[in-house]
């Protein structure tokens, strides 16, 4: 019973940790303070907006997190429960309107942003204490410009003008990629594939070499431990040499020579020719030749 309780607690702890980890992937991604010519909301009106980005590779449910413009009031705008649209798909965005009209729906917050002033914006977790992300939008941000991360969810902010190369991207990626950068780089810098071959073979060799060295060491340690166990079972101390390795221990060849000498000395047979064959007796059994240890045999305790 106690064991089950511990397991359940561990499972619950793991679940809560993974949940918290997911929430920590939420990022403030782009902010517009004065919207004079940009995107309009469902009511056809322009207002300040805050874009949130799910930087994780799984969907992220953000209902019950808090968005605020005042660190003293972390619970200023709670994202409502029960709206399916509050689940942000992996690496996607959601736009919140800072129009002070929460009655207009889930994505309309209860505060507005102040042009000409620094605007601090923070996102708190459901406990209202854990700060997930924060940013201060500079006071000198011109109308129609946004303050945005250079790349989605990553460090580094910049002012975006809306001109070519400095696009304003509500509910969209801050960097619009139409090709795979990695592939393009390989295509440009490694046209023949030598670079890939050298790097990849080095990595493959390193991985297997590490494994190989690791198991070489485990082999050695294992052999040493078995030797110690064997000596203990023979009642010998670790520093003592096993009987078969002692210098006074007779080898099988020496025993055979003694037997032959005795045979010569004591031989009373003078008629017949005796042929003495000495065969080394060795263990024929090995797991490598055993039918029991075939490839599909499962070990049993």
């Amino acid at each position: 019973m106690k064991k089950h309780l511990v397991l359940t607690l561990v499972a619950l702890l793991a679940a809560s940790v993974s949940f918290a980890q997911g929430r920590r992937g939420l990022r403030i991604n782009e902010i517009m303070v004065q919207n004079d010519s940009n995107v309009v909301d469902d009511y056809g009106q322009r207002g300040a907006w805050v874009e949130l980005f799910n930087s994780t590779f799984g969907p992220l449910e953000i209902s019950s997190v808090y968005i605020t413009d005042d660190p003293a009031q972390p619970k200023k705008y709670p994202v409502p429960l029960g709206d399916v649209n509050t689940e942000i798909p992996a690496r996607q965005h959601v736009l919140f309107w800072a129009d002070g009209k929460p009655s207009r729906g889930t994505f309309h917050m209860s505060f507005t942003l102040r042009p000409g002033q620094d605007n601090w914006i923070g996102v708190y977790d459901a406990d209202g204490k854990t700060l997930i992300d924060e940013v201060t939008v500079p006071a000198n941000l011109p109308a129609g410009h946004t303050y945005a991360r250079k790349a989605d969810g990553e460090e580094g902010w910049e002012v975006r003008t809306g001109l070519t190369g400095s696009h304003i991207t509500p509910s969209s990626n801050n960097i619009i990629r139409d090709t795979n950068v990695k592939v393009d780089m390989f295509k440009e810098k490694d046209e023949q594939g030598f670079g890939m071959t050298i790097m990849a073979m080095c990595i493959v060799f390193t991985a297997l070499l590490l494994l190989s060295v690791c198991f070489y060491l485990i082999n050695r340690i294992g052999a040493h431990i078995s030797k110690i166990n064997k000596m203990h079972s023979h009642g010998l101390a670790i520093h003592e040499t096993p009987r078969e390795e002692r210098p006074d221990h007779d080898s099988s060849e020496e025993i055979a020579a003694i037997v032959m000498a005795l045979h010569e000395h004591l031989n009373s047979h003078d008629q017949e020719q005796t042929v003495l064959t000495i065969n080394k007796v060795k263990r024929a059994y090995s797991p490598w030749s055993s039918k029991i240890y075939n490839l599909r045999e499962l070990p049993r305790r």
């Binding site: 795979n180 990695k182 592939v183 390989f186 295509k187 490694d190 046209e191 023949q192 594939g193 030598f194 890939m196 071959t197 790097m199 990849a200 073979m201 990595i203 493959v204 060799f205 390193t206 991985a207 297997l208 070499l209 590490l210 494994l211 190989s212 060295v213 690791c214 198991f215 070489y216 485990i218 082999n219 294992g222 078995s226 090995s286 797991p287 490598w288 030749s289 240890y293 490839l295 599909r296 045999e297 499962l298 070990p299 049993r300 305790r301």
Partner: protein, 388 residues
């Protein structure tokens, strides 16, 4: 409507039905693919070439190439969203069948040969040169780097890995890559022996290797844990394949999950193999499959296989230069560095016996063979990390 006579009504419906039949919609490409499917089934049943793979793939090709009116909205084609075949194909396109197969491979593989003689792992690494040699050729031909990576993985001789990687890097080429990979795996007994003979001398083929020591159960238990941690720390992108491979092996070796190991290595592997083989076969619809690219893919796959087998054998010869006389490795086990388990190890054994009837190389060849499985999964992880 009233003007339509009963006979016209019958004719109209029969004509509509005729337009839905395979006979009406058939093209010569369909018949070519049906012939390919029949050839695979023939190879499997009559020639006993990897029947567990070629029968499902061959029949899958037949299923995927029955002509029908694709504009009728019948929801029967493998590429039609929501069709039964499409749902089954999700395991291939989303890449979750291959890790399940790896779970089974881990649960049925005894890594003793590798643990007893860890230096054999390097042969498995060397054979992966086939992948990257083919990558260079593919880029030279004009394939994009991600497509080249997906094609080159055929050189790993590992069907699940090839499917997994191509589903991520080049989904449009996956059918051709999968069929090519499995075809060459089935043809291991034909492709590898001439290469092994070409690069070895008679003296080298007669090298007898010492039987490796027995491996304790503790070592067998430590292997999957350390193996997973080490390889995945180096190449985290190989986690789905390597994680499942080593997990399956731990189920097998720990001694307390025998039931799970049996399920993973028998029932689960069989189920996934059936679904994987059949859907891969069915994905080779003539319109998608019969292209010039497919011919290039088969050519590159063949090259990758030859380079992989050759580099394994040549690496052993090179390795022998630094090994003491008593620890020389028979280069006939070099081919087993590709991960066609256990077929390529069997080839090493058979060829060894051909030159010396008392020289059993099977267990020695299993070392590089299973190292090849790990190596090709690591190589796939590297390609995924660089190109995805």
């Amino acid at each position: 409507m009233a003007e339509l006579s009963f006979s016209d009504f019958l004719m109209q419906n029969l004509t509509q039905f005729w337009h839905l039949t395979g006979f009406y919609n058939a093209t010569w490409q369909h018949f070519v693919m049906l012939a390919v499917g029949l050839f695979f089934i023939w190879l499997a049943i009559k020639k006993d070439f990897e029947p567990m793979l070629l029968v499902p793939i061959g029949f899958g090709i037949l299923i995927g190439n029955v002509p029908f009116n694709t504009e009728a909205g019948l929801e029967i084609g493998i590429y039609e969203e929501g069709s039964v075949l499409n749902i089954l194909y999700n395991g291939v396109s989303a890449g979750w069948y291959p890790p399940l197969i790896f779970l089974g491979i881990g649960a049925m593989t005894d890594f003793s040969a590798l643990i007893a003689n860890p230096k054999l792992m390097l042969i498995g690494a060397a054979a992966q040169f086939g992948i990257f040699g083919a990558y260079m050729v593919a880029t030279a031909i004009g394939f994009e780097p991600d497509q080249a990576g997906a094609i080159a993985i055929i050189g790993g001789a590992d069907g699940p890995t090839a499917i997994f990687l191509s589903s991520k890097l080049a989904p449009n080429l996956m059918g051709a890559i999968a069929v090519s990979a499995y075809s060459y795996m089935a043809l291991v007994p034909v492709i590898q022996p001439p290469i092994m003979r070409l690069f070895t001398t008679k003296k080298e083929r007669l090298i007898k290797m010492k039987p490796a020591r027995a491996v304790s159960q503790n070592e067998k238990i430590i292997f999957p844990i350390v193996g997973m941690l080490l390889t995945c720390f180096v190449v985290p992108s190989g986690l789905p394949l390597l994680g499942m491979l080593f997990f399956g092996n731990l189920l097998r070796e720990c001694g307390v999950t025998t039931r799970l190991a049996k399920t993973a290595s028998n029932a689960l592997t069989d189920i996934v193999t059936i679904l994987l083989g059949m859907t891969v076969g069915a994905s080779t619809q003539a319109s998608e499959f019969l292209t010039a690219e497919t011919i290039f893919i088969f050519f590159l796959g063949f090259m990758a296989f030859i380079i992989a087998s050759s580099s394994g054998v040549l690496f052993v010869k090179l390795f022998n230069l630094v090994l003491p006389a008593s620890k020389k490795i028979n280069p006939l086990i070099g081919n087993a560095g590709v991960s066609a388990v256990p077929m390529s190890a069997r080839i090493s054994n058979n060829l060894g016996l051909e030159y010396d009837p008392s020289n059993y190389l099977l267990m020695h060849a299993m070392g590089p063979n299973v190292a090849g499985v790990i190596g090709s999964a690591v190589a796939a992880g590297v390609l995924l990390g660089f190109l995805a």
